[in-house]
């Protein structure tokens, strides 16, 4: 690699982030609302890029390409097909009503929104515990994945531990002083960087392999199974169906995504984001799918996890060294834009929903404590990423499913006035336990009837919520009025 050029591009990229962070810090007030929610004043582009950059992780380029290498073109529909529609739809289904409640009553997190809807401190606490429990391992795994990818693309020049330091350190530099505004403004830059680089990378690889048509003809002749979903052992219809209940519907439950919705300035901003989101998802996953499938004929023979290296290998084998540097920048942008928001949302949850249980905290003190918590979690995440304890990794493996099975309670709270706190509590606790029993293989596999555990757990959550709510007293009318009275004014306005 051309070290001088590489360092030059990397330093320029980091400097731009620091300048954006400094500007964001300058306009950020030392209040809870401004630090954690950017004063609920984010416009369409800011919300769009914040959600998109947070949603896209190292998996999008590295993991999806590796999966497409093995499974063929069907990997596209399997992983992202349902998400293309349902993820933005949840911004309407859950996002808009939550945003209305946030604007009306000042709620800033899921524990606050759903604790208030169900008028229950236990529901609030359960949301807090479950969100932290699933977000932390997911955060650590994001750091591990990003650091490994960074080390691979730099051909070992940047060791794993230094990659982790870079990823966490740079994120902290702009997140600490500027809070959500810092992460969102840098997301606009980083999201643009990786989207543009990914598209250019696709064209560069296509050109190096003889053009779009030539490489596809080669696949058709040498490995026609890549075109047919029914021939792919990785894509069985029952898994295809089950997978629709994991990553696509879990996204709105991620605290870092949910908070960004609450931070939107207006309803019109949310509508624009929801409308155009499918295209952004389709493009970025389309690029990684094509790169993975093309790699299966350009660099054949990769087995198992080795296929996750297909994008770095395509860059190294077929493109100029400059692309190695650009690949590093893209990976940094993708990984950091997710990690900074995960760190901030964890700090937000602890500062806004956990600390006030022990100590009264003013708005200004919340910013101070938020920064301390941010540093503590960043240091802890770095340490865990180095040690990589098996327990954390096994929780991360089903974190998406864990988030997904919280969704029925969120939907019921926003749409079903008869849902009560007893139903919500049972539907949060029992599915979480069941997921552990299935994923940790304490229950035999046949008990899921061939589906991934998330599907029966999701159905179970709905059943428990309905049955327990009907068996216990209905919520008091004044409690229902607070939530559904507001919705009535908006949705049934003359």
């Amino acid at each position: 690699m051309n070290t001088t050029l590489g360092l030059g591009i990397l330093i320029t990229y980091v400097c731009i982030l620091l300048i954006i962070g400094a500007f964001a810090a300058k306009v950020t007030l030392k209040t809870r609302e401004d630090y954690f929610l950017a004063g609920r004043g984010l416009g369409s582009i800011a919300v769009f890029m914040a959600l998109f950059a947070t949603n896209i992780t190292a998996f999008t380029i590295i993991g999806q390409a590796g999966f497409a290498y093995q499974a063929g073109y069907g990997a596209y529909g399997y992983v992202i097909g349902w998400s293309i529609f349902i993820t933005p739809f949840t911004y309407y289904l859950v996002g808009y009503r939550s945003w209305l409640l946030g604007k009306r009553y000042g709620y800033a997190t899921q524990p606050q929104v759903f604790g208030a809807i169900f008028n229950s401190r236990l529901v609030k606490l359960l949301f807090l515990i479950l969100l932290l429990y699933y977000t932390l391992p997911y955060l650590v795994v994001s750091i591990i994945g990003g650091s490994l990818a960074f080390t691979t693309i730099s051909e070992g020049l940047v060791p794993y531990w230094l990659s982790a330091v870079l990823i966490i350190g740079i994120s902290l530099i702009y997140t600490l002083p500027a809070g959500l505004r810092g992460t969102v403004w840098t997301d606009i830059f980083q999201g643009t960087v990786f989207l543009v680089l990914a598209i250019f990378l696709l064209f560069a690889v296509a050109q190096a392999l003889g053009g779009f048509t030539a490489i596809t003809e080669r696949i058709t002749q040498t490995n026609p199974a890549m075109l047919q979903r029914s021939l792919s052992p990785q894509i069985a219809p029952i898994n295809w169906f089950s997978f629709a209940f994991i990553n696509s519907i879990a996204v709105i439950v991620f605290p870092q995504m949910y908070t960004r919705i609450l931070a939107a300035r207006s309803s019109r901003n949310l509508k624009r984001v929801t409308l155009y989101y499918p295209l952004a998802l389709a493009v970025i996953f389309g690029v990684s799918t094509l790169l993975g499938v093309w790699g299966s004929v350009a660099v054949p023979g990769l087995v198992g996890k080795d296929s996750d290296n297909i994008v770095p290998l395509l860059i190294q084998k077929f493109l100029s060294p400059t692309w190695t540097v650009l690949g590093l920048v893209a990976i940094l942008a993708i990984v950091k834009s997710s990690i900074d928001s995960q760190l901030l949302s964890v700090a937000h949850l602890v500062t806004d929903d956990l600390l006030p249980r022990f100590k009264r905290i003013s708005s200004q003190q919340a910013v101070f404590w938020g920064r301390i918590v941010l540093v503590i979690f960043a240091a802890a995440a770095f340490y865990i990423a180095l040690v990589r304890p098996a327990a954390i990794l096994s929780i991360a493996a089903f974190a998406f499913s864990g988030f997904a099975v919280i969704l029925p309670v969120m939907i019921a709270g926003l749409y079903w006035p008869r849902a009560n706190k007893y139903g919500a509590i049972a539907a949060l606790i029992v599915p979480a336990i069941m997921l552990h029993l299935w994923y940790l293989e304490i229950l035999p596999k046949w008990t899921t009837f061939g589906f991934m555990p998330v599907f029966p757990t999701f159905v179970l959550a709905i059943l428990i919520l309905v049955v327990v709510s009907y068996l216990t007293p209905a919520p008091p009318s004044e409690q229902r009025e607070k939530t559904f009275g507001l919705f009535d004014q908006v949705f049934n306005a003359k």
């Binding site: 609302e33 004063g39 609920r40 004043g41 416009g43 369409s44 063929g72 073109y73 069907g74 596209y76 529909g77 992202i80 097909g81 349902w82 293309i84 529609f85 349902i86 933005p88 739809f89 309407y92 808009y96 209305l100 604007k103 009306r104 009553y105 000042g106 779009f212 048509t213 490489i215 596809t216 026609p224 075109l227 047919q228 979903r229 029914s230 219809p237 295809w240 629709a244 300035r265 207006s266 309803s267 019109r268 901003n269 509508k271 929801t274 409308l275 155009y276 499918p278 295209l279 998802l281 389709a282 389309g286 799918t289 094509l290 507001l486 004014q489 908006v490 949705f491 049934n492 306005a493």
Partner: protein, 85 residues
């Protein structure tokens, strides 16, 4: 039209989109439909079309079931909604 009916329409739309995603009966066309633009097989181009359809469908959902908050509700917001043009 009552909002509950609009919500039922939205639910129907979601169901149709879910069926279109789980369209296993179309998998047999994967090697029969010609490549789109010379490089997109059916398993891929189907989801390019699905993405475009998603935008149109979301536009429809916004039209039928996503009203902006009326002025009297905005008045009640803890921080007033900024006018966004």
């Amino acid at each position: 039209m009552k909002f509950k009916i609009r919500l039922v329409l939205v639910a129907l739309i979601v169901l149709i989109m879910f069926l279109l995603h789980n369209s296993f009966w179309l998998w047999g066309l994967d090697d029969r439909v010609p490549l789109l633009f010379g490089f997109m097989p059916f398993a891929f181009s189907y989801y390019v079309g699905y993405a475009i359809l998603s935008v149109l469908v979301i536009k429809l959902i916004i039209k039928i079931a996503w009203p902006d908050p009326p002025a009297d509700v905005i008045e009640l917001f803890v921080d007033k909604e900024s006018v966004d043009k």
